[in-house]
Each structure stands twice: as structure tokens, then as C-alpha cells.
């Protein structure tokens, strides 16, 4: 006699479904393939949308001539300089605001009233102050990075468990050590959220500043080829910006994993 039975199976298996590694490249490969086909069939004129292969060719040409790298290095110098300055000052000021109620009361209204200004609107003023050299571009990027980092660091500090501060004080920590050993590591996850947020902002400000006033740089290169209607070289610039953003984010993620292994 065959027994009747009802097997209970895992009804939430979809929550832990295994996805093969190729899936993440699938979407982007298909997109590029369609793009290439559309261009090869000349459905869209190459002036409006050059084929991926044409962009790669143009990129190779520009690499060989050295044009790409001289522009890239000019941009990297500005963005890394501005980012480093803005992030460092942002973290320090954020920690100070979070730790000292006096600093919070005096400086927070200032920070919050400058924060909503689109920083690019300040560029003409900054050029007036600092001239048209490298400095105003670095400064405008630093400004754009500074605010998100300050605000995130500040709320990170405020979210540190007061119990941990009490524990540290009990075991003999002075104020400086409380900041260094408790408040700083405790707010690191929030600080990184701010750093990632401002990575995008810094790229935006870089391109905008270079389009307004620069001889060299990815932003001015894109604008230049746009004016000349050489679209495939323009797209090389866009591609480089996309890669730059990706690289920026990956680097931050890597640093975060190194510095926040306990999460």
C-alpha cells in the first residue's frame, strides 16, 4: 500500500536563492551589444550616438597621443586634492561639533545655512577671490565634500552609545582618548556614508568647474569636443568619468572594510 504524504518544503527559498557570477555582467553586456548593433545598422546617426567600438577606438587614439592622460591627471589632481582637504576638515569639524555643545550651538547654524547652497553657484565668487588657477577648483570641490561629511560625522557622533563613553571614562579615559578611542571609531560607519555621498558631489563639481574655467581636464575636454561635435571623443570623456566614479566608490568600500571590520 502506498503511503499518502505531504512533504513540507521551504516556502521562503526565494530569499536565499543563489545567483551565478555571470549574472552581474549579463545586463551590461547585452546593453552594449544592442547599442553596437543599433549603431552598425545606422538606425541612429553616429553624430548623435557613436558605436561602443568607435568610442573604444577613439579612446585608444587619445591614449596613444597622450591627450587623455594629461587631461585625466589634471582632473585627478584637483579632485583628489579637493576631496582630501574637504573630507579631513569635515571629519575634524564634525567631531568637534558632536563632542562640544558650545561648538554645536555656535557653528551648527552656520553650517546648516551654507549647506543648501549649490556650491557651483559660489564658483564665480571664488574665482574672483582666488583667480582662475588650480586653487578655486580645489576649493570648490573641498567645499562640496566638506558639508555632507560634516553633517554625517556629526550625526555619527550623536549616535555613539553613551554607555560606551561611560565605560571608557570608567576605565580611565580622558576626553582626548574618549574622542580617539570611542567617538571616532563609533562614528566611522556614518562618516563613511558621508564620504561616499560626497564622492558623487565631488565628481559633479569637478566637471562643472572645469567646464566653466579650465584649459585642461576631463570636464573641459568633454565640453571642447562637444563644441566641435566630435561625439566619439566626447563619449570617451563620459566613459572615463563613469570609470572614475566607479573606482572612487570601490576604493572607499575597500577602505571601509579595512577600517570597519567589526560591523
Amino acid at each position: 500500500m502506498s503511503q499518502q504524504r505531504q512533504v513540507i518544503t521551504n516556502r521562503v527559498a526565494f530569499l536565499e536563492q543563489k545567483i551565478p557570477a555571470y549574472a552581474s555582467v549579463l545586463g551590461i553586456s547585452v546593453l552594449i551589444a544592442i547599442w553596437e548593433v543599433v549603431c552598425q545598422l545606422e538606425i541612429v546617426p553616429p553624430l548623435f550616438l557613436p558605436a561602443p567600438s568607435a568610442i573604444v577606438m577613439a579612446g585608444w587614439e587619445m591614449t596613444v597621443s597622450g591627450e587623455l592622460f594629461s587631461n585625466l591627471f589634471a582632473s585627478l589632481y584637483r579632485i583628489l586634492g579637493g576631496y582630501a582637504i574637504g573630507a579631513t576638515i569635515g571629519i575634524i569639524v564634525g567631531l568637534a561639533l558632536g563632542f562640544s555643545r558650545w561648538a554645536d550651538a555656535i557653528f551648527s547654524p552656520i553650517v546648516y545655512s551654507i549647506y543648501p547652497i549649490p556650491k557651483i553657484a559660489l564658483l564665480p565668487l571664488i574665482i574672483l577671490w582666488l583667480g582662475i588657477g588650480e586653487l578655486p577648483k580645489v576649493v570648490i570641490i573641498a567645499l562640496g565634500v566638506f558639508f555632507p561629511v560634516v553633517i554625517n560625522t556629526f550625526s555619527g557622533v550623536k549616535n555613539v552609545d553613551p554607555m560606551l563613553i561611560k565605560a571608557a571614562v570608567t576605565f580611565g579615559s580622558n576626553h582626548f582618548n574618549v574622542i580617539r578611542k570611542v567617538i571616532l571609531p563609533g562614528s566611522l560607519p556614518m562618516i563613511f556614508a558621508g564620504l561616499k555621498l560626497s564622492a558623487g558631489t565631488s565628481l559633479l563639481l569637478l566637471v562643472a568647474a572645469e567646464m566653466i574655467a579650465a584649459q585642461e581636464g576631463i570636464g573641459s575636454m568633454v565640453l571642447h569636443y562637444g563644441n566641435l561635435m566630435i561625439t566619439n571623443k566626447l563619449m570617451v570623456g563620459v566613459l572615463v568619468l563613469s570609470l572614475l566614479g566607479l573606482l572612487f566608490n570601490k576604493t572607499l568600500q575597500w577602505i571601509e572594510r579595512k577600517l570597519v571590520p567589526w560591523k
Binding site: V169, T170, F171, W262, K263
Partner: protein, 259 residues
């Protein structure tokens, strides 16, 4: 060295601007190598009292002092084991245990020796490099205890250290704590609402009542320190527990009604 709690009182101002007396007229002392347990119903201010003794809160009146220590001597060290455990999540077990030693500025070598010694004492050898997140509740609190013991404090304070643990782990941890305590013999102030725990651990039990929090009675537990759970002491053990329960019962019922 004795720790004296003299005329300590604490009043809070509540949200409706009323003065609430949390503690009043608290007088007792902790002798050298004595294990004192504060027990009372919820809301009797026992944690407040421990915070005052631990220097995490100032009393409204009275004072807490170490007798036989000149003001010029180095500050007495306090080791606190928190109810919330309060391990630093970004530090490994080892780094948490040596935190207090770091702050004392002793040599790296000494930090290592003491760290290793106390990690071994609480049975966490092999977990030195784990982060708190990777440990079970019981193991976290062992690390918390090791951190407090490592500085070899003049007074050890424990604020319901096992209340977050399950009943089985809790029983085991109580046994372990006794074993450890017998090796270190630190003057200890321990807060709990668990009467069995109080009778099991204490040299003296201080029973607090609520509204306002004050000492209702101080009971010497006249049993050998080790092995109170043996059959031969069962009757006496239960008598002590019952005596304390009768003192607390009414207050505990009132506390329940107030929610």
C-alpha cells in the same frame, strides 16, 4: 581599604517639574575583600546607587569615599561590569580586555601578560581576536568581566551583569563568578533583582525599598562562600531567600501595579 557610602541621597526633577526622591539616607560600607549585594524591586534606585558609587552620577547629598587613602594618593581604580555589557564593538576581545590597562599607561608587555591571564581566567582563550558581535551573550559578558578584572580595581562594581542572559547561562556564570572572585578577592558591590543570586553570592545583602529608595535591612549571609547550593545548606539558603522576599514583596507588588 574600606569604601564608605555616607548619607547618600539623590533627587531627580521629572518631566512635570516635580522633585522625585530616588534615594535617601543611604549609609553602609564595603569592607576589604567583601562581596556586598544590593537587592530590591525595580525602581528602588539600586542602579542609581551603583552609578553614584561608580562615579557616573553625582549624589544630591552625601558622599562616597575610600577610607584610608589620602587625597594625594593615586585615584582609586574602579572596574565596572555593565548590564548593557558595553564592550567596544570595534575592538577585539583582547583589545577590549586591555582597554583599562592601556589607559593606565602600563607597558605593552604587562598589558599582554595581564590580558592573557584574565582572558584565560574567564575562559575566553582562543577568542582573543574575535569581535564582540561574533560572541554569544554569555561570552560577551565574560569579556566584560575580564575587562573589569584586568585593571585589578580597588572596587569592582557589577550592575545586573547577568540579567540579559538566559537562565541556564546565568546559573553557570554565577558559579564561575564565585570561582573567579575567590581567586581575586576584590571588594565588590553587586546589583541584582534576583534574590537567589543575591543569597548565592553575597557576604552581605543590602535590601532596598522604594519610594523613596532607602535601606530596609542589611542581612549577613552566614554560609560558606563556596558550595551554598549544596543540600546541607538548602534549608538555610531558602530561609535567607524567603526573608529577603518578604521584605521586598509588598514593594514589588506596588511596582507591578504602577507598571
Amino acid at each position: 581599604m574600606r569604601i564608605v557610602i555616607e548619607n547618600v541621597g539623590k533627587t531627580f526633577v521629572d518631566t512635570k517639574k516635580h522633585e522625585v526622591t530616588a534615594l535617601t539616607n543611604i549609609n553602609f560600607s564595603i569592607e576589604e575583600q567583601e562581596f556586598v549585594v544590593l537587592v530590591g524591586p525595580s525602581g528602588c534606585g539600586k542602579s542609581t546607587l551603583l552609578n553614584i558609587v561608580g562615579g557616573l552620577m553625582s549624589p544630591t547629598s552625601g558622599s562616597v569615599y575610600f577610607e584610608g587613602m589620602a587625597a594625594s594618593d593615586k585615584k582609586p581604580s574602579l572596574g565596572i561590569v555593565f548590564q548593557e555589557i558595553a564592550l567596544f564593538p570595534w575592538r577585539t576581545v583582547y583589545e577590549n580586555v586591555i582597554f583599562g590597562l592601556e589607559e593606565q599607561g602600563i607597558s605593552k608587555q604587562e598589558q599582554q601578560d595581564k590580558g592573557k591571564h584574565y582572558i584565560d581566567m574567564v575562559g575566553l582563550t582562543g577568542f582573543e581576536n574575535s569581535y564582540p558581535k561574533q560572541l554569544s551573550g554569555g561570552m560577551k559578558q565574560r569579556a566584560g568581566i575580564a575587562r573589569a578584572l584586568a585593571i585589578e580595581p580597588d572596587l569592582l562594581l557589577m550592575d545586573e551583569p547577568f540579567s540579559a542572559l538566559d537562565a541556564q547561562t546565568r546559573t553557570l556564570m554565577q558559579e564561575e563568578l564565585l570561582t573567579i572572585w575567590n581567586r581575586t578577592k576584590l571588594s565588590t558591590l553587586y546589583v541584582t533583582h534576583n534574590i537567589q543570586e543575591a543569597v548565592y553570592l553575597a557576604d552581605r545583602v543590602i535590601v532596598l525599598s522604594r519610594h523613596p529608595g532607602q535601606i530596609k535591612e542589611i542581612i549577613h549571609i552566614d554560609l560558606p562562600k563556596i558550595g551554598r547550593d549544596k543540600d546541607e545548606y538548602r534549608v538555610q539558603f531558602e530561609q535567607y531567600a524567603d526573608q529577603i522576599w518578604q521584605l521586598i514583596r509588598q514593594d514589588a507588588q506596588d511596582a507591578l501595579k504602577e507598571g
